[in-house]
């Protein structure tokens, strides 16, 4: 006996399905967890809890639906609970309205097209990686799900439990913030001319 009630313990066939359909996504779930927690130890905890919950809720998974998206949704919920418990360790303390207002102030990246050469000729991987990590969490999740994990807007909306319009808004503002960071990176690295207004 495992102590799990018959209502929640998957039967042997379901167990096999779980092993075949859910476990292969462990790397993806870990990557998503790490993108949210930005801390390997926390990601470790989130991934363990995600798979345990997924196993216990396996009877609610609809065969034929996308297992990765289902796991990401659980992962996101586990993360939110962890964040609630350890709020001091998270740098996001405002609500979406405040953050989006902040972002919209920075939405205009002047003459962004002028930096196109920088993007195509310089390895921006490390700078982008850091910039994504520094995005406020609401924007980071949208950017990671759509731009890094390749989800459609409606899939990302389902994972985050928000309307598609909210995903679109968070995604676009997150991208603008990233572009802003890249412009600063390029200037600091001497890759572009300094804005004359700054002198």
């Amino acid at each position: 006996m495992t102590g799990i009630t018959p209502a929640t313990a998957p039967n042997r066939v379901d167990t096999k399905r779980f092993e075949v359909e859910a476990l292969p996504w462990l790397d993806d779930v870990y990557r998503f967890a790490l993108s949210m927690t930005r801390d390997e130890s926390d990601a470790d905890d989130v991934v363990q809890e995600t798979f345990l919950r997924a196993y216990r809720s396996w009877h609610t998974f609809e065969p034929g639906s996308e297992c990765r998206k289902w796991l990401f949704t659980i992962c996101r919920n586990v993360f939110l609970r962890l964040r609630e418990r350890e709020r001091r360790r998270v740098d996001y303390g405002g609500d979406d309205t405040q953050l989006e207002a902040l972002a919209s102030e920075q939405e205009s990246v002047a003459s962004v097209g002028a930096h196109a050469d920088v993007l195509s000729h310089v390895d921006l991987g490390p700078a982008l990686d850091r910039a994504i990590g520094e995005l406020p969490e609401v924007f980071r999740s949208a950017v990671v799900l759509v731009d890094v994990e390749g989800m459609a807007y409606n899939e990302a909306a389902s994972v985050l439990g928000v309307p598609v319009g909210t995903i679109r808004s968070r995604l676009f503002r997150g991208r603008r913030l990233l572009q802003e960071s890249l412009v600063v990176f390029a200037r600091d690295a001497g890759l572009t001319a300094r804005d004359p207004c700054e002198v």
């Binding site: 495992t2 799990i4 313990a9 998957p10 042997r12 167990t15 779980f18 092993e19 476990l23 462990l26 790397d27 779930v29 870990y30 990557r31 390997e40 990601a43 470790d44 991934v47 363990q48 798979f51 345990l52 196993y55 216990r56 962004v112 097209g113 930096h115 196109a116 993007l119 195509s120 921006l124 991987g125 982008l128 990686d129 994504i132 950017v143 759509v146 731009d147 890094v148 994990e149 390749g150 459609a152 807007y153 679109r168 995604l171 676009f172 991208r175 990233l178 572009q179 890249l182």
Partner: protein, 86 residues
């Protein structure tokens, strides 16, 4: 301003929807209209090229680093304890 067989779009509309175009999130009609516009407009194409390159760079940050073995072992141990036979 461009007149096409489908929908005419001006530069403002095209640039405003570039990301949704690149994400494939527009209707077929709008996708066609923007594609047609970009093929003809020297003003919009550099912006399109920049945004495409930017999104490719973001996508490339996806690191294929697997979950550490320790995490994998912990997950499996937890699942076995819960009844999974792996």
């Amino acid at each position: 301003m461009y007149l096409t067989e489908t929908v005419a779009m001006d530069c403002y509309d095209v640039v405003r929807q570039l990301w949704e175009y690149l994400d494939g999130e527009l209707t077929d009609e709008s996708m066609d209209a923007i594609r047609t516009h970009l093929a003809q407009c020297r003003q919009c194409y550099p912006q399109f090229d920049f945004e495409r390159t930017f999104l490719e760079a973001v996508a490339a940050t996806r690191r294929e680093h697997p979950a550490p073995n320790m995490v994998r072992r912990k997950v499996l141990a937890k699942l076995r304890k819960a009844g999974l036979e792996v």
